[in-house]
């Protein structure tokens, strides 16, 4: 049936709300091939002469147009929803994505992600005076300037703006400025402990 491949594509995406599924090149190629066949029929019908009894193509053309529109909608929705997910990831993972997610991106998506990162960085540089404003900070209103954190994995050296250097090894605990470590907590490197 027309549109079956397209709906499979959408179902695949709907099932994975939290993980980023691989870009389904093969299915997209099949859908485009289906579109080509549908379009061929419409073109042929338009070039033939209409006759209400022997060559009544009205219903056929209408149904195929609907199928074309449907395929188009599914393809666009597939790509758009994936981009929404990538955009959310930019805010949660930062500008460098884990390899497992990168492997599932298409070439176009990689390029889009780079462009989005760049645009966001430029925007944050452009607002809030000379030093810019980091929108990734203080997602929730802060209560203290310093917080206590515990390391969940070996991260290595972290140098603060003040020049102070911390060695973040697993299970070590530190007392650090909130603004410098908020991103690391959100990325799951550190854990915020003893909050009040």
């Amino acid at each position: 049936m027309w549109g079956d491949k397209a709906i499979e594509l959408i179902k695949e995406l709907e099932r994975s709300t939290e993980i980023f599924p691989p870009f389904d090149d093969d299915k997209i190629r099949l859908i485009l091939e289906e579109c080509r066949v549908l379009n061929q029929f419409i073109e042929d019908a338009m070039n033939s002469t209409f006759h209400p009894e022997t060559n009544n193509y009205l219903a056929g053309v209408k149904a195929r147009t609907a199928a074309l529109e449907r395929n188009k909608r599914c393809l666009l929705a597939y790509q758009w929803n994936r981009l929404q997910m990538l955009r959310k990831m930019r805010w949660e993972f930062g500008s460098i994505l884990p390899v497992e997610i990168k492997a599932n991106m298409s070439e176009g998506e990689v390029a889009w992600f780079a462009k989005y990162s760049k645009a966001l960085a430029n925007y944050m540089k452009g607002i809030g005076g000379r030093n810019g404003l980091n929108l990734m900070l203080d997602m929730q209103p802060p209560k203290d300037l310093y917080i206590e954190v515990r390391c969940l994995k070996d991260f290595g050296k972290l140098e603060l703006d003040t020049g102070e250097v911390f060695y973040l090894s697993q299970n070590s605990q530190h007392y650090m400025p909130r603004s410098q470590v908020e991103n690391l907590v959100r990325q799951g490197v550190l854990e915020h402990i003893n909050w009040s």
Binding site: M1, E14, A63, T65, A77, M89, Q140, H192
Partner: protein, 200 residues
């Protein structure tokens, strides 16, 4: 993002899936060039008297043609309307139709007989089921999945939001507001990586 507004977005996955549900359609006169719609038919024309169940989006493009008649999908017919009117709370909407409200809304848009009744049915069903849904969602101690399995798509979304709101409120009451947490997708990704590692 509003629950009912955003869903008719052109890119909305739920709207696309709801319009995939099937509607019975019958052809009173032969229709040429539509033989592909019926897998059992031969030749490229649909013979007169063919009855098929086609997806909503396809039916919407054909129902105004001469000799084409559409029927109500079974879940909006009188028999089911009576059941839902008697006690909507016990019906397993998930099994009946995963997009019961969305699809019902779409069906009532095409000029089908009884379309006013369908609209009333949808509203009344949601009103009847809503009380139990909210009470289930905000009392986290009563986690029985039997109830969740009876909910259709919009109801699941509603209960998910009610649960989240309840959790936020209790966190706030316990002065948990200032804590920085791991981001949602990072969490999901870490879980996924951990589970694949456990496999290999």
């Amino acid at each position: 993002m509003s629950l009912f507004g955003k869903r008719n977005h052109y890119f909305s996955l739920n709207d696309i899936l709801a319009s995939q549900e099937r509607v019975p359609i019958s052809f009173g006169t032969p229709v040429s060039y539509l033989g592909e719609l019926d897998a059992s038919s031969e030749g490229n024309a649909l013979p007169a008297g063919t009855t098929l169940e086609l997806s909503y989006w396809l039916v919407a493009s054909l129902y105004q043609e001469d000799g084409v008649g559409i029927d109500l999908p079974k879940q909006y017919k009188q028999a089911w309307r009576d059941i839902l009117a008697a006690d909507a709370k016990v019906v397993n909407l998930q099994r009946l139709c995963k997009y019961f409200y969305e699809f019902g809304k779409l069906v009532s848009l095409i000029r089908i007989r009884d379309h006013q009744d369908i609209i009333e049915l949808l509203i009344q069903t949601l009103v009847d089921r809503h009380r139990e849904l909210t009470s289930w969602a905000v009392h986290s101690c009563k986690r029985d999945n039997e109830f969740l399995e009876k909910l259709e798509d919009i109801e699941r979304e509603l209960s998910k939001r009610a649960t989240a709101a309840e959790r936020d409120l209790s966190n706030w009451l316990q002065h948990d507001g200032g804590r920085i947490r791991k981001a949602e997708l990072v969490n999901a990704h870490d879980r996924l990586v951990a589970s694949t590692r456990a496999f290999t």
